[in-house]
């Protein structure tokens, strides 16, 4: 009798089952069950996330997944946000677009982060993907409004265009005019990063007016306040709105028009923008405050009491981004008013000032941790911290998933005991078992890393600066943090030992960045030779590595796993250490 196997479902059934599996991780897991599942899965995967554009080549992706509709790519390492990655390092999207143009004509979504996107790439996108619906360029650079014009002109099905935090060359404000009059499908538009003269206001008005599904509109700073009312009246269905500059002479007509316009936006839940905000115009948004779930005032120079008064009117807030003008007192009000708060970010208004200009200390954060039971994501810039406060915060909020503390003086000790902040951060990792992202600062010895290695088992991303005393610290992290994917280190006394002892760990991570540390060139070369599935990139603008001693510390080191092998689009100051490196010398 023929044995009936459990896997005799017809392919179509399996495919149907797989269509319920959205998460990439789960799909990856399914694909390794057996060969037939691998085959079925790869044919029906529609969405792919590539966390490091150099970890795999476009050819490989296309070969395995023939019918992708949505792709997300990330390029430069995170520290590029802080100018640590020199220009020209890489992260070019053009090779991807070129290959996908032929392979994925039905591509609908392109999301790029920290990549170099040229006008040529954008023009190719416009030409090749007629079905494109979503284009997100997050922290990208290299393109101008010409490229945007090409997208506007060709992508008839575009619903989302999001340029957040990108650097765009402003050549002409008329790219918006390239959206044809027949184009009405816009749902989300974020142009908050554009400079002056980049946006023709009348074109924007017309565009907003003819897109009835527009739900998200984030303007750039140059849009004056007195134009907002008109714009909002054309789009009362907005859910998320970002103003332009929020300063103007107080005029009663402007004021009342604004108040009325905001009042009519019954679905408005998220507000941002508020550049240069003046208190006089704040009350116009009071009518929407009670519904607000997200408020971004991090570009608004308003201070207390206006700021606190505004915050106290927003009981539904889940996400709050604000400057440190809010001070401890304002945070206490936030803690008592906003019981649904999940995410808090407090940015410094004067990060390079020598003296504190506001009264924002650890007390504010303690207050919020105590008053807001749902708080799980924090980014907090301040000038003083104590272990005691950190322990209290940890005990108050065991649900933290993201905790990033930035003390402006990066090696400052506990201001009360003058001890390192090891114990405080130790409490964070010990109590917050679900912590996925952690950024350290302050005076820290090897001890804090011991705690991290011991407790932070779910930690995926760790950012370290000016911390630790020896390789032991790095070793604790690499050997203890089982879920670690990204590790970025600057200005720490970590050398070769921990790195070499944990070389295998590096293959389980997405990437490791080390700058201004003590890793020697020799160690990099050794890693390059022994670990063929890692790309070891050494960046140094002083000159080629072969002209210096093996023991010289490398300036910047970026290690990432890759199945694509070394890349060839590097600028002159980046070298890949691989087995060929030594033989290339001549």
């Amino acid at each position: 009798m023929q044995k009936k196997t459990a896997y005799s479902f017809p392919d179509e059934i399996l495919e149907h089952v797989f269509s319920f599996i959205q998460s990439g991780k789960d799909r990856n897991a399914a694909s390794v069950v057996c060969k037939s599942w691998y085959e079925i899965e790869r044919w029906c995967r529609r969405k792919i996330f590539v966390g490091n554009c150099y970890a795999v080549s476009p050819t490989m992706v296309i070969r395995r997944f023939p019918d992708i509709r949505s792709i997300e790519l990330k390029g430069k390492p995170h520290f590029a946000d802080f100018n640590l990655v020199p220009d020209g390092w890489g992260g070019y999207v053009l090779p991807w677009i070129s290959e996908m143009a032929g392979a994925y004509p039905w591509l609908e979504e392109i999301r790029l982060k920290r990549m170099v996107v040229t006008d040529e790439s954008l023009e190719l996108v416009a030409k090749s993907f007629t079905n494109l619906q979503v284009l997100v360029l997050f922290s990208c650079e290299g393109f101008s409004t010409d490229g945007l014009a090409a997208i506007a002109a060709s992508c008839k099905n575009l619903t989302e265009l999001d340029l957040r935090d990108s650097e765009v060359d402003d050549l002409s404000g008329h790219w918006l005019n390239h959206f044809p009059d027949t184009y009405t499908s816009l749902v989300s538009l974020n142009i908050s990063c554009l400079g002056s003269d980049d946006v023709s206001f009348s074109a924007l008005e017309r565009l907003v007016g003819r897109c009835p599904n527009l739900r998200r509109l984030l303007l750039n700073r140059e849009v004056p306040l007195d134009k907002i009312a008109n714009l909002l009246s054309r789009a009362p269905q907005l859910i998320e709105f970002g103003t332009g500059t929020y300063a103007a002479e107080l005029r009663s007509d402007v004021y009342s028009n604004l108040a009325e316009a905001f009042c009519n936006c019954k679905d408005l839940k998220c507000l941002s923008g508020f550049w240069d905000a003046v208190p006089a115009y704040l009350p116009v948004i009071y009518s929407v405050c009670s519904r607000l779930t997200s408020l971004n005032l991090s570009y608004a120079p308003i201070q207390n009491p206006d700021l606190t008064k505004l915050v106290s009117q927003c009981p539904s807030l889940q996400r709050m981004w604000v400057l440190d003008y809010i001070e401890d007192s304002g945070l206490e009000v936030l803690a008592s008013s906003c019981k649904d708060l999940q995410e808090l970010r407090v940015f410094p208004s004067d990060p390079f000032g020598e003296e504190p200009n506001v009264s924002l200390t650890e007390k504010g954060l303690v207050a919020v941790s105590s008053g807001c039971p749902k708080l799980h994501s924090v980014l907090y810039f301040c000038r003083q911290m104590s272990n005691e406060a950190l322990v209290t915060i940890a005990q108050n909020c065991p649900n933290f998933t993201r905790f990033r503390l930035c003390l402006l003086d990066p090696k400052i000790a506990d201001y009360r005991t003058l001890q390192p902040l090891d114990v405080g951060f130790g409490a964070i990792v010990e109590h917050c078992k679900d912590l996925r992202r952690l950024s350290l600062s302050g005076l820290l010895t090897d001890r804090v890393f011991e705690y991290i290695g011991m407790h932070a088992k779910k930690l995926e991303m760790l950012s370290v600066a000016f911390a630790g005393e020896s390789d032991l610290a790095l070793h604790h992290v690499l050997s203890g943090c089982e879920s670690l994917r990204k590790l970025e280190i600057m200005n720490c006394p970590f050398g070769d030992k921990a790195l070499l002892a944990n070389a295998a760990k590096l293959e389980t991570m997405r990437s490791l960045w080390m700058s201004s540390c003590s890793v020697s060139l020799g160690a990099c070369k050794m890693l390059g030779q022994k670990m063929p599935r890692l790309n070891i990139e050494v960046m140094d603008e002083k000159g080629p590595p072969d002209s210096r001693a093996e023991s010289d510390p490398v300036d910047k080191l970026y290690i990432y796993r890759s199945v694509a092998g070394p890349r060839f689009d590097m600028p002159p100051f980046v070298w890949t250490m691989d087995e060929d490196f030594a033989s290339e010398l001549s």
């Binding site: 220009d87 090897d446 201004s516 300036d555």
Partner: protein
């Protein structure tokens, strides 16, 4: 530049010992600290190195040696002269974007090099000593790690003297203890005087006044946000009379170069500084004119060669001002230049011919 390493083509750890010398432990320690101070980012704090040269065997000095090594003021740009006036600091502050990675002018380089050569050997030995502890396979597997590193931070790492870790100035128990002491001393220091900056704590040790210097990448704030802050503070500055925005990044393009760079004009106080920084930044392109990308990295950067290229009037430095006109750099006072400069361009001299008369004209109109 130091000569190419012997045996480096063969790779592997065996060749590491070829350059071993018989430098004594003490001198290695000392020289090591100097090496660390110097080579880290290419930016050499030669002045402070001189002031901080310590005689080996002195406990106090060893302590500050260790601290310096662990504190990594190395390569923190702006860690130049601690005596620098804080106001001046803002203008010529080393909030460095591309700058930190270039060698100094030959004169300073020459000053620093000899020690570097001696040190190399000491480090070499340390490195190979470190590798002695385990066979080739070991370092790849975590399980062997206990041989080298114990989980308790206070324990000695069990390395022989002369090992690299010690060279780095990290004797765990001792350094920690000392660090704490220093910390205790530092913090009241910090509280009392105008806030010493990140890298100034080392300076505090040597009793120099705190200087405000900025470190690349700290605090971790995105450029977009920094620029927004800068513009806002500019608006309020006239009222408050405070110092100007902290950073003024402009793009620099060079004809023929494949990508743009960015410089912070606040780093420089005069044209000469800007010009030499740009020379270094784009030297890899001018040399690249003669070689294909593949072999580019193998050529030694020749300072004189590149200077010839730039000063030999093959390229000139121009900028686009607020009116959108392209002008020659250097025609207006520095402050006026930083106020009006929107972007820079290194263009071929032949293209720049028409600019000079216009620049003069504009200057005249302004004045």
């Amino acid at each position: 530049m130091s000569p190419p390493l012997l045996g480096v083509e063969e790779g592997g750890q065996n060749n590491v010992t070829l350059l071993g010398s018989s430098g004594s432990m003490d001198s290695v320690c000392q020289n090591n600290a100097e090496l660390k101070e110097r080579n880290y980012m290419g930016l050499s704090d030669c002045s402070s190195i001189d002031s901080s040269v310590v005689t080996p065997g002195s406990d106090e000095s060893n302590v500050s040696l260790n601290l310096k090594a662990t504190e990594l003021r190395l390569g923190l740009p702006g860690s130049q002269s601690p005596e620098r006036n804080p106001e001046l600091c803002l203008l010529s502050s080393a909030q460095l974007d591309e700058k930190p990675l270039f060698p100094l002018h030959p004169s300073s380089d020459g000053h620093c090099f000899p020690s570097q050569k001696t040190v190399v050997s000491g480090n070499k030995r340390g490195f190979s000593d470190a590798m002695d502890g385990f066979s080739e396979g070991n370092f790849l597997s975590n399980s062997k790690v206990d041989v080298m590193l114990t989980p308790r931070p206070s324990s000695n790492l069990g390395l022989k003297s002369g090992s690299m870790l010690e060279n780095l100035g990290v004797q765990p128990a001792k350094a920690k203890e000392v660090t704490n002491q220093k910390v205790v001393k530092d913090s009241p220091h910090a509280a009392n005087e105008t806030r010493p900056n990140h890298n100034a704590s080392a300076n505090n040790n040597s009793g120099a006044p705190a200087s405000k210097a900025q470190v690349v990448g700290w605090p971790p704030i995105r450029s977009f946000r920094k620029n927004s802050l800068a513009t806002s503070s500019k608006n309020t500055d006239e009222v408050d009379g405070k110092a100007g925005p902290d950073a003024l990044f402009v793009k620099v393009s060079m004809d023929g170069a494949p990508y743009l760079r960015k410089v912070d004009l606040k780093n420089y106080s005069k044209y000469q500084d800007l010009s030499s920084a740009l020379e270094k930044m784009f030297s890899c392109f001018t040399i690249g004119q003669c070689a294909s990308h593949g072999t580019l990295g193998r050529e030694l950067l020749s300072e004189s060669k590149l200077k010839d290229l730039l000063h030999g009037s093959e390229y000139v430095l121009t900028y686009e001002d607020k009116d959108g006109d392209w002008m020659l750099v250097g025609d207006v006072p520095w402050e006026m230049f930083t106020d009006t400069c929107k972007r820079l361009r290194i263009m071929k001299s032949s293209d720049a011919i028409g600019l000079a008369p216009r620049a003069v004209e504009k200057c005249r109109n302004r004045n």
